[in-house]
């Protein structure tokens, strides 16, 4: 959800924050063999320019930010979202008692940007 902030918002700039997915906490630990969890991370922070020029941003985000600065009521600022992700492999039991290794793309946020 895009929220309206003023350029002098106390929010830190858009960046990757640490998020550890713990399979025990979500109750999947009985059948996921490995890993026990992984650092998935997430994106959070403001996308106000020129601060946001330091991170990966689309030209569209620059223009949207420009419009937001002059008409904040009608134009939200760009969103802070994952722009680079990496895969992980998960080893688990399925419901046929097979041991399964599955490769999942886009599981870890490596980099965030304004979109």
């Amino acid at each position: 959800r895009a929220t309206h902030h003023s350029p002098d918002s106390p929010d830190p700039p858009c960046a990757a924050r640490q998020l550890y997915i713990n399979f025990q906490e979500v109750g999947w630990h009985n059948w996921i063999i490995a890993p026990r969890g992984f650092m998935a991370n997430y994106c959070q922070g403001h996308c106000f320019f020129p601060t946001a020029t330091k991170i990966s941003s689309l030209n569209h985000a620059v223009m949207q930010s420009l419009m937001h600065s002059v008409a904040p009521a009608t134009t939200p600022p760009p969103c802070c979202v994952p722009v680079k992700l990496s895969p992980i492999s998960v080893l688990f039991y399925d419901n046929s008692d097979n041991v399964v290794l599955r490769h999942y793309e886009d599981m870890v946020v490596d980099e965030c940007g304004c979109r």
């Binding site: 399925d94 046929s96 399964v100």
Partner: protein, 236 residues
């Protein structure tokens, strides 16, 4: 309505379905993890680590390096055939064992790239070590339902091979034998394994039944789900 104890909430079911996961519904599994699966997991984890390798040295996406085939899902399937092998039909036959693998979990969008049968006879070191053995593998013909007896006369021999010893695991590439290579997708695989001594001679008493008890058969199934595989980024 409140979900039943142990039942998944609709949200959890939707999340699991999105990830292609179907967790066990009963008590936690106690089956040990095969070493090959641990090894493949560790290799896959290492490959996912950021590496400063040149582009040509980077691991191929959706490729199981150790097995040398494309794929992003690897399954280790245990034999679900009869636990007690029947008595051999003839005097020279040492072991006749039905093998049954339930493959109903395979999704239509998955492409089979490897189906490898592994036969592990344990370590029957005292079982005529210099004997030599003849193995025969046949496919049971016709439909068969889970738990129902096999019609022994309906079989097509897939291979016959002489091996010097049963100490080490034996591997058979089932796709190269012409199984499951066509458009028809198998829901199960029914096989019959026969083992007999390569040379005439008396085996130690009880050795054939010991062989049957120690045999562990499993299937390593590798599939490629193209929807889970991202193409390599194009250079612009």
């Amino acid at each position: 309505a409140q979900p039943q104890p142990g039942a998944l909430s609709p949200q959890a079911s939707a999340l699991l379905q999105t990830l292609g996961l179907s967790p066990p519904s009963g008590p936690p599994p106690t089956r040990p993890v095969p070493s090959v699966m641990w090894r493949l997991f560790q290799r896959g984890t290492e490959a996912a680590e950021p590496q400063d390798l040149p582009q040509e040295s980077q691991p191929l996406p959706c490729h199981v390096e150790e097995l040398g085939v494309p794929g992003n899902i690897v399954r280790h399937v245990l034999d679900g055939g009869a636990s007690a092998p029947p008595e051999p039909a003839s005097g020279s036959l040492c072991l006749e064992k039905p093998l049954f693998f339930n493959l109903s979990f395979l999704d239509l969008k998955e492409q089979l790239t490897l189906v490898r049968l592994e036969l592990n006879f344990g370590a029957p070191g005292d079982l005529a070590p210099d004997q030599g053995w003849e193995l025969s593998l046949a496919q049971a013909q016709g439909p068969r339902l889970w738990g129902q007896p096999l019609h022994w006369h309906q079989r097509e021999v897939l291979l016959s091979r002489t091996v010097p010893s049963l100490r080490d695991p034996l591997y058979f590439d089932m796709l190269s034998l012409g199984l499951m290579g066509n458009s028809t997708f198998p829901h199960n695989l029914s096989l019959v394994l026969e083992v007999l001594p390569a040379r005439e001679g008396a085996l130690p008493p009880g050795s054939c039944s010991m062989l049957g008890r120690s045999l562990e058969a499993s299937l390593l199934v590798v599939t490629l789900d193209p929807q889970l595989c991202q193409p390599a980024p194009r250079k612009r």
